[in-house]
């Protein structure tokens, strides 16, 4: 099952909805891994949308299991790439031509959606024209508040910063500007006393 219901949290933490077709001149769909399933649902409920849609699909951990079905949706443009960073130059090129009336749909992991959201809002697309639906992994993109390095795909709390090596605990405090949650040293007051790792959502 690709859907996960996040427990209630603090107000800086993003919340996600279910993608719904909106009227628009064009539709930019950025999906990652199991996000493909949200695209199928979207397509099912909106007949004309795909004729004006550009799908940017990032395979991530799903490989090409969704590839054929996505390609058959009839999108005006369909792209498939291995990772967000690989897709980024294309996304930027597409955004440079974006016109008023564009609707954006993001679906996949929080880390991908957060980065894409940042890219879209930086390009001047109002956040009200961007929908997000979480699918797939609940792994987080974490910023180490100490060294500022980003660690991708964090699934445990605490975790080790992939840059400076400190043991960090996982906060729900989220920065849209960084597209990351905040990680803070867990053993600062008692060096070496690091709690056992647990899955972030159990």
């Amino acid at each position: 099952m690709s859907r996960f219901k996040f427990p209630p949290s603090i107000r800086s933490r993003p919340v996600y909805e279910t993608l719904a077709a909106r009227d628009g001149k064009s539709h930019l769909i950025i999906a990652e891994a199991e996000g493909a399933e949200a695209v199928f649902d979207l397509a099912k409920n909106a007949e004309n949308l795909m004729a004006h849609a550009h799908i940017i699909y990032i395979q991530g951990r799903s490989g090409d299991v969704y590839a054929e079905r996505l390609a058959s949706l009839g999108a005006r443009q369909f792209y498939m790439g291995p990772s967000y960073s690989a897709a980024l130059p294309r996304l930027r090129r597409v955004l440079s031509d974006a016109k008023m009336g564009l609707q954006a749909y993001l679906t996949g992991t929080e880390g991908m959606m957060g980065q894409a959201m940042l890219e879209l809002t930086s390009a001047g697309i109002p956040h009200t024209a961007i929908q997000c639906e979480h699918r797939g992994s609940t792994a987080r993109r974490m910023q180490c508040v100490h060294c500022k390095g980003i660690t991708e795909d964090v699934t445990t709390d605490p975790f080790v910063c992939s840059h400076c090596g400190l043991n960090l605990f996982v906060r729900d405090h989220y920065s849209r500007r960084l597209a990351a949650f905040q990680g803070v040293c867990v053993d600062a007051e008692d060096p070496g006393n690091v709690p056992d790792q647990v899955e972030i959502y159990q």
Binding site: I10, R11, Q143, H146, L166, L178, V184, E189, D190
Partner: protein, 355 residues
């Protein structure tokens, strides 16, 4: 009176001290014998002579040393001062507000001469004299917000107002109570306060925002906030928490009076005229427990407040582990006698401590 400036440090050997005058004018934050969050705003239109409320921007004996500490923090981590591109005008608004206020309130320390946009600023305590063109960034050695806040005590959050919200879009944050400007910049009022426990559920931030959105030019507001810090460490940043956090474990029953500090923030709020932004100076005052208890009313009250504070708040404010030791120390300065209402020390009317 002419101010005598201390030569002191807020790190390493911690030579920071408060003079008798600084103790007497300390902004004690508890108006009654208990504490809970509230939107405790009042007008910032002066206050008793000599108090921290008297002037728009209080300059005290710690000024020069605090500015040296800020320069050191910025040299180590320039991300503590950031301004998003649309906040430049608000930075000039802030520079004007501070220069005008300080030159009017402390004419012996600061001078501002204006001929149209050609300005001449003299800061005697720091030995700074600059001529520049108002609104011309190239005429100053730093951006306007950074330039003036390198010369003004307290942290500065500069907020943009739009969409019926306030956005933390610029700041100079080097004496913070454990929050990161680099992480929080760009957030709205609710987002950057999101980690504060209880206050959201109590509706505190909704009411505070309503108040702040309506602060008008010329009618600034203020409130006090507080936390606890071990050692007179100004830079209690999350960025350096892995370095300073361990100091919290250095308290003993013998040194708690001299090493445990009450940290009070005098928060003020000014509307900025050109940008319609809001500046939120957060001025930090530190006082050792052993100095607080020289004021009988404050010793009694601080004991009662900390003894009865909910664990959730003590955890958020970072002293839950040391709370028993702190309360035990303070209990020796609480003889159970009543305290008068309000924050002022009332040294002449409060009963002597009976132990």
């Amino acid at each position: 009176m002419t101010l005598q400036f201390n030569d002191e440090t807020f790190r390493d050997d911690y030579t920071f001290t408060n003079s008798q005058r600084a103790i007497d004018r300390f902004p004690f934050p508890f108006h009654e014998d208990s504490y809970m969050y509230s939107v405790n705003m009042e007008q910032h239109q002066g206050g008793p002579k000599g108090s921290v409320y008297e002037n728009r921007f209080d300059v005290d004996e710690h000024y020069i040393s605090e500015m040296k500490d800020r320069a050191q923090v910025l040299a180590e981590d320039p991300l503590r001062c950031q301004s998003l591109p649309h906040m430049n005008l608000a930075g000039w608004d802030l520079l004007e507000l501070i220069m005008v206020s300080k030159s009017e309130d402390y004419p012996d320390l600061f001078e501002l001469h204006r001929d149209g946009n050609n300005w001449h600023w003299i800061n005697r305590p720091l030995g700074i004299e600059d001529k520049f063109v108002f609104l011309d960034n190239a005429s100053l050695p730093y951006g306007p917000m950074e330039y003036i806040t390198r010369q003004t005590q307290g942290d500065f959050a500069v907020l943009d107002q739009r969409d019926e919200n306030l956005w933390l879009d610029a700041g100079m944050i080097t004496t913070q109570a454990d929050w990161s400007l680099d992480f929080d910049i760009g957030m709205n009022f609710f987002e950057w306060h999101a980690p504060v426990p209880k206050a959201n559920e109590m509706g505190i931030f909704i009411r505070a925002l309503k108040f702040l959105l309506n602060v008008q030019q010329g009618t600034p507001a203020r409130r006090l906030n507080w936390t606890m810090t071990v050692n007179p460490l100004l830079d209690t940043s999350p960025e350096n928490y892995h370095k300073w956090g361990v100091q919290k474990t250095g308290l003993t029953p013998q040194n708690v009076g001299s090493k445990q500090f009450l940290r009070v923030e005098l928060q003020t709020f000014f509307r900025l005229p050109r940008s319609n932004g809001l500046v939120f100076p957060i001025r930090c005052y530190l006082i050792a427990l052993e100095d607080i208890v020289t004021v009988p009313k404050w010793g009694r009250r601080l004991h009662r407040v900390l003894r009865d504070i909910p664990d959730e708040l003590a955890t958020y404010k970072g002293f839950i582990d040391n709370k028993p030791m702190i309360v035990d120390y303070l209990s020796k300065f609480d003889d159970g006698q009543p305290t008068s209402a309000g924050i002022w020390p009332e040294k002449d009317s409060e009963p002597e401590l009976v132990v």
